[in-house]
Symmetry: D3
Subunit: 272 residues, 6 copies
């Protein structure tokens, strides 16, 4: 990446979910580009570095979330549950929690939110389909449903209140692809950073949806409608292909997790 020192400041930015896997990746990468980086989570976080504030808060706690956004310019909203869970947990953390973030943005004049949505919004499309973000949602679980809800919420807050959002349908963001499916869905940490920065700095985003994936050889997602964001991934899953194929030489093509884009998510539950 270009040295942050050359770039203009991102201003005063809130990072929710700062104690999560991606939050810990993004926090040190965002900090040097912000006037202030206010990080938040329900779990314990690293103490504040210079230019940071650390706020422990549950997303369900409306006043706390309102306080979190006060005086800020933008939010990178990674908080909430990031995998499949029983509905009630999802309802609180993701549905109510994301509402609280947008409502706080409205009250305090925050004008842009980068929202960590998920490829599980469209997890029930097949792996032999190439889709773009204009197609109807086909969520693969309660988690995916909550992310579809968040995208619609973002749409409403833009149409009604002019608050801009970029909804990132993140594929699989890990240090490296962990299985054969991730050869298609992998988003490297550097490309994640590029994606979040593009989303924060693009002049006009309205309500945009973009799939978050590296420049993988095979993929199911066409980001043409989001080309205005200027996200150009630089990494690829290809160097990991041989190892992942060797570890999974045979796939069961009758397994829904192999057939559908959502992978194992599509056969989680029910939660009795």
């Amino acid at each position: 990446m270009e040295p942050a020192s050359e770039a203009p400041s991102l201003g005063r930015v809130v990072l929710t979910g700062a104690a999560g896997a991606l939050g810990r990746v993004l926090r040190p990468r965002l900090r040097p580009r912000c006037t202030l980086l206010r990080v938040s989570d329900i779990a314990a976080m690293e103490p504040p570095a210079s230019g940071e504030e650390v706020v422990e808060a549950a997303l369900q706690d409306r006043p706390a979330v309102a306080g979190l956004l006060q005086g800020m310019d933008a939010v990178v909203h990674l908080g909430g549950l990031s995998t499949e869970h029983p509905f009630d947990a999802i309802l609180q953390a993701n549905i109510l929690g994301t509402y609280n973030v947008y409502e706080a943005a409205r009250r305090h004049g925050v004008k842009r939110i980068v929202y960590a949505s998920s490829n599980h919004v469209t997890g029930f499309y097949r792996q032999d389909q190439v889709i773009d973000a204009t197609l109807p949602a086909r969520p693969d679980g309660y988690y995916g449903l909550s992310k579809a809800f968040g995208e619609d919420l973002a749409r409403f807050y833009f149409d009604r209140y002019g608050i801009e959002s970029v909804c990132l349908r993140i594929g699989s963001s890990f240090p490296e692809p962990k299985d054969r499916r991730m050869l298609a869905t992998w988003l490297s940490y550097d490309d994640l950073e590029r994606l979040v920065l593009a989303s924060l700095t693009a002049p006009v985003v309205g309500h945009s949806i973009v799939y978050g994936l590296s420049d993988n050889k095979a993929s199911w997602w066409d980001n043409t409608p989001a080309r205005h964001l200027g996200f150009r991934p630089q990494d690829s899953s290809e160097p990991f292909r041989a190892a992942r194929e060797a570890a999974q030489p045979v796939l069961d093509r009758d397994d829904p997790a192999v057939i559908y884009q959502g992978g194992a998510f599509v056969r989680m539950g029910p939660f009795e």
Copy 2:
């Protein structure tokens, strides 16, 4: 309508929201076509007629909803809030409530749900646009958001568990159109009945979305993708045009309620 006596039975049907405006319309029309009509609401209802059961239940009450669906063949789910409200009320009645209905259907093997969605799922499209149900949601409030959520939930329960749904994006179902906007959005009670019956009896519906409107001269909604349902409206708002135009001779074309399909919903809120 054709005399119900000639038609095959709809089987054992649950009607939620039976005390609401449309519930009271549909209840007597469905009853003679059902083996059993089990009606439910949180509010007081008429006592059971022959072939009916009356169950008072809140949709947020998961065990009550589960009980409601036990042993039934289909659900006509009108329950929950049917106009704009603060988010927390919507979250309980519509989001959690609809989840409870679908989860009960899964547990008890109910295979089809006719779901009262709303035109407010797409209320932020303009009145000079003609849309169909394959376009992205543009909800005009928390109510519309909850209905978009319900449609996605229905999609998931079909993709994952094979439970079929018809999502009815109901326009304006009243005895007659109440204002100029309703000349485009009106759904007569007879056409509402036709729509619900088509949705219950079509052989295969998968996950279908259909706009509920009469054969009005002007409209914003193209139901071509739902033609497999066999819904053919017979009524029209035209006889009411002169009176409605006389009552509202001038429209303020800068008013969002005039510009957008959702009408006055698009400028409700915020709820401070």
Copy 3:
């Protein structure tokens, strides 16, 4: 048609091209519905009836056109050349003339224009294609080009200044279909009146394009995207079919006038 006396007034309306064939048809039909009908042409017109003003003016005469629109609510712009002509004549009457009308509307706050465009905007589509108004223009001559220009001009005046337009891509409006092609393209005078009234009275039209044709059995034009206007033709060319087919029993299928929608227009010119 419904008796005009029942309907609300259309307000103060300008009718250009009042001496032309369609202008003479529309003038007496619009008059009883208007507070004031100001009719204009470059040619001689009938003297004013009660509720009318008659203004002789050339569309190229910018001040005259400005005066024509002053104090008016809407324009039905039929003026200019309505058939193929050498370019210079088209440039003056249709391109410059229509600019003058829109610019006058901007200066004098006229908020809606019903613009007589033409099916010749898309005359180079084939007669075995069914098109709608979202496809690119394929004009069949200078006349069609000038109408494509007018539609784009209307788009600009709406995007930039909020002046609404309905562009009527009129098929063939005559007392009856004159040849076999017109079995597909015919617009009866009653349906023309319905179309103009719908365009003047629809609450919100933004920039709309609609093909003007009766409910003919065969047609090349799909008006689904303009369904918000509420135009429902009531007539059909079918009663004239036998006579027109008898008069033209054989068609030369190598003749461009038979192959393309524009008919004989597609082989007019060049004008040496």
Copy 4:
């Protein structure tokens, strides 16, 4: 139907498959409108009426087919197998046979062919999908495959040699709908006649594909792209609904014949 005596002649027309069910329906209806109706089949046919010629011929017999088309203006090609069969039989009767018809048309200057294709070209679309003829083929058997081949062959003969075709994707043409599926797919004999006449008389058809179905309340097929043909069905399956539903009160929604548009065809074979 309008009395044939008023209409212009269809000229010299070949009818293949004249001994089949639909051939026997169409023969007496076409005869009075033709200068000459030359009927053909591999099976025995009624003796020739006035204005008719009867030619026994197998479609696989190339010289015979060539002779059949000599001196003719148009062909209504119903011949070949009209239900599922082992591949070799289909190959001979439908693939080779239809090639022979088109090649004979090329050699003898016949300029239009009305080709009996079938809804089984798209039989593997679901019954809750509404499709039009621009979507890719999804044939449900060898019969459907042969009809997809015939449509492509027709496309080639138009692109290469200018021979026009209307491909009729006939639904279920019987005296009345025989089961619940046919409530959606039924084509009455009168509407079949209307369809064939429209296909023979439309001025320009190029290569057109149209679904052949009556104006049934529910359907899976959208004929908008074929509106230029002027086919307007007048009949409906609705009067037969109650009886068909009573005869099949319960459908097995796990049965591919219930799920897919092709009905029982989708589970025929394999032919061991």
Copy 5:
């Protein structure tokens, strides 16, 4: 670029607008590839080099334009006004002028025109939309309108007379991007040259429209439909990003010039 000496000749080429900014860029780049380069403008030009002819001519002067094209193989038509002006000036230089060029091409058998259209044909799309050239025009002023007219004119001359055109919707062609908007719209001079050469040498172009922009990281334009031209930009605005962002650290997101693709053009005028 590849040395011109290796490439086949472009033949006898007219370059209009040779005294303009892009004309001065292209003239020396085209000259070595042409048998004859005839350059023209209304303003003074450099004297002819070897292989050049210099013709001073106004585009409104029909005989002069006719003479200009006589005996030539192709035209690169950059002439006319290249920024927003009052309508009358646009009408003369761009609308009448471009007509004169196409009519001269028809008279003198010139078979291909590379036409400098503009991104301002679609300037009223939003900067968060990615569009391609099949969408309807949304011009942002009289200049953009005249370019939309030119594209339609080119369509007509191809459909009617077989004269091929490539319409270049040029973004911002300058030595370097001058502001933040141009980070998306920049077309380097080398890429401009690539674009013009591709347009002149592609074997078959019919009527093609292509956006002229470099391989910028973010863009609003998808050139997939023009891939047959073989235009592959090699440059990018990225090296200029830091400087441009530093110079414009804050954008007013309520400014139409920031919201719409046309930038400042969208708020020029009216010209009182």
Copy 6:
């Protein structure tokens, strides 16, 4: 290419058409990646190397083809005629032959077929059109027709029996582009290998269609819908451009072979 030794085995693979031009290219490239490579042709082939079996067989010989596929995992089906021929030859080798291959796959449980289709399936699209594989076939001859048939057959065997196919619409696979058309259609042998390997190893392919072409500067084919396959061509026709253009400096733009994508195929025949 990556050394084959690193990659997992492709298993037991049949290669038909092994004596043809592309068969001879692919045979040595596939062999080291297969557990067993069984090669077949009607013509004489090189004797078997280690890991190979050589089976002489005609594709029309059903039992021979059945034997060929017994016990195998996948087929690369290049066999049959690969250029235009009279219909009867095409019928036997390509239509019947490909049926035999799919039917053998069904009988013996072979689950994936890589099918050599052809760009001639869409040869009657124009060279100034950019198409993708979702558009209707427009075959340019009997050869193209047989390939369209094969693609539909593959679709049926997937929908009905779950046998996966990748249909390769191969452009022009030669050591180098042989004429100007092939600058757009060339597929290098290395890219052919990449394409076949991607098709054999992609986890899920269902029924996929992909154009086989290198990364040529200009092309008519958009492979976005096949991006899930992971085919990324590495070669380009560009190094051959100058020579090919020098050899064909002038193209006759009235020649159908220049206008249409299929090149000279579009004017082959008829075979009298």
